[in-house]
Amino acid sequence: MPKLRDIAQKVRSKNAGPFWLTIDIFCGTPEAYGQITSALSDTQVAATFGTSAQNIKRFELPDLNVVKISLPRPTVQGSIQDRDMHGASWAALLGEITL
């Protein structure tokens, strides 16, 4: 079973302000875009980040072959529980999802 990162060209994550995290999946080709949009479910994404599917905002941009996922940050940026000030590493966790 392939992992998301094996199919996508690049997965990156970043803060969208202190309270939101945004992850951009650059699929690279229309084929990869089709494969990822059909196989990646919001439920699977939500489980990866320990939240519920209703917190997942998902945008599909076929012109760019991009799927964008935004969610409230698993921990607020810079709080005592936070481990990643810029939200840089979360992309790796999503990239390891098995499709």
Binding site: A16, P18, F19, W20, T22, F49, K57, F59, G78, I80
Partner: protein, 451 residues
């Protein structure tokens, strides 16, 4: 047409001098640069200080003040000093005066201040003039008044007021990243959707192009849209790089909320004019009924002390989590016993670098490292208490055995002392918008003639 020159995504990140010279030769109407954001965390806003070195800031700002004089146009910085609080604005003003004196050139400086009195914000909250944004933290009057700094994000209206003073240099406190770029095109009647969209594309400098670290870009705004041109050698904007930039640090790739309305790029079209420039049209600005500005606030969240140990013994590497769980339980009990504290008076956490430090319980990978870093993080209400708990943790990280029977182990400490005080920590406390009758209600403007 309004031509905006953007030297880089932030003052302090440097810019390509040759590309900047090309920008000056192109006769810009304004030079605009961002000075910060919340991205480096709550400490900068909490303390009201810049994250960038004063030396870097001064050298880069001096280059831009020189460029401004050559171009004979205004120079504006938004979110001065990383956080845009008044103390950071004053720091930037001090640097500006120092440079002006050194360059021997009189300048008129407009200073737009964005700091808010927490008591006034608490009043606005009580009077229901504030609205939470999605994922906002729980708020009370006490949370607001305990903030060491609260800033409001200025929009284009406040920057326009500052420009209207005829100032050579505008030092703005917290603004939206886009406002400093959009203000002049909007004031001169350029297409509103194009002004905001171009500002969003340009706010990170050449990040919207290939060779993103080159910094310098030029944006031409007009009656229908905008054209973006990166100026460094080998930097190209393409419809793909430009449209993809709407994804960046934005939770919604089509909508961007600003004071007074929102930008909608759903219908935007991106056209390559040549190998370097991209033209964008069809962007839409949707005015809102009420005029609101976003608030950011940071408040003290305790004092921290950190300790770090390295595990290299294979048995301890393999059982690191068990070792940490045992230490955490025993040390927490000792802290409560010896200092008479309750569990809620402090936090003690040990994260394992090489195992699950990035994601904690959400980690899915199996640890494979041959060595593991254990970072102990203590947070308590005073510096002395945090250090005291750090000292109680020290012997555990140095010698704690997995079993009672074995010879006492010793682990590697990197430093002496092992306890590293991090001082006061801060947390973000606000994700709300404040409704204003007049855009200038939450801001002040001062004009200084520096001879």
């Amino acid at each position: 047409m309004v031509r905006v020159l953007i030297p880089s995504g932030a003052l302090g990140l440097n810019y390509d001098k040759q590309a900047l010279a090309r920008g000056i030769a192109a006769k810009p109407d304004i030079i605009a640069i961002d000075g910060g954001s919340t991205d480096s965390g709550p400490s900068y806003l909490g303390r009201g200080v810049s994250k960038y070195a004063r030396s870097s800031t001064k050298i880069e700002w001096a280059g831009l003040m020189q460029a401004r004089a050559e171009a004979n146009c205004p120079l504006v910085i938004g979110t001065a000093g990383t956080c845009g609080a008044d103390s950071a604005v004053d720091w930037m003003l001090d640097i500006t005066r120092e440079i002006a004196t050194e360059q021997g050139r009189p300048v008129k400086i407009a200073v737009l201040r964005s700091s808010q009195d927490p008591a006034e914000v608490a009043k606005a909250y009580a009077e229901h003039r504030m609205t939470p944004l999605p994922a906002a933290p729980e708020l009370t009057a006490e949370t607001i008044t305990s903030c060491s700094n609260i800033v409001a994000l200025a929009g284009a209206e406040q920057i326009t007021q500052a420009l209207n003073t005829g100032a050579d240099i505008i030092i703005a406190g917290r603004t939206t990243d886009t406002a400093i770029i959009a203000a002049l095109p909007l004031a001169r009647g350029c297409h509103a959707g194009g002004a905001w969209h171009g500002a969003k594309i340009g706010e990170c400098g050449a990040l919207c192009a290939t060779n993103p670290q080159s910094g310098v870009i030029l944006i031409d705004f007009d009656a229908e849209g905008f054209t973006v041109t990166p100026l460094a050698d080998g930097a190209h904007a393409t419809p793909h790089t430009v449209s993809a930039h709407m994804l960046y640090e934005n939770s919604d790739p089509f909508i961007l909320y600003e004071p007074g309305g929102h930008l909608d790029v759903t219908q935007s079209t991106y056209t390559a004019l040549d190998e370097t420039s991209v033209r964008v049209t069809g962007s839409k600005w949707v005015p809102s009924e009420a005029y609101t500005v976003k608030l950011e606030g940071a408040r003290p969240a305790g004092f921290q002390t950190v300790l770090m140990a390295l595990l290299r013994d294979p048995h301890y590497v393999a059982n690191a989590q068990k070792w940490v769980d045992d230490i955490t339980a025993k040390c927490s009990a000792k802290v409560q016993d010896r200092l008479g504290l309750s569990a809620s008076d402090f936090t003690l956490e040990i994260r394992l670098i090489g195992q699950n430090a990035s994601f904690g319980a959400l980690e899915t990978a199996t640890p494979q490292a041959h060595e593991v870093g254990a970072i102990g993080i203590v947070t308590a209400q005073t510096e002395a208490l945090s250090l005291e708990i750090g000292k109680l943790l020290n012997p555990y990280l140095l010698h704690h055995p997995l079993t009672q029977e074995e010879e006492q182990p010793t682990f590697a400490f990197l430093f002496s002392p092992a306890e590293m005080p991090r001082g006061q920590t801060y947390e973000f406390a606000l994700n709300h918008v404040l409704r204003l009758e007049d855009p200038m209600d939450a801001f002040t403007l001062e004009v200084i003639d520096h001879a």
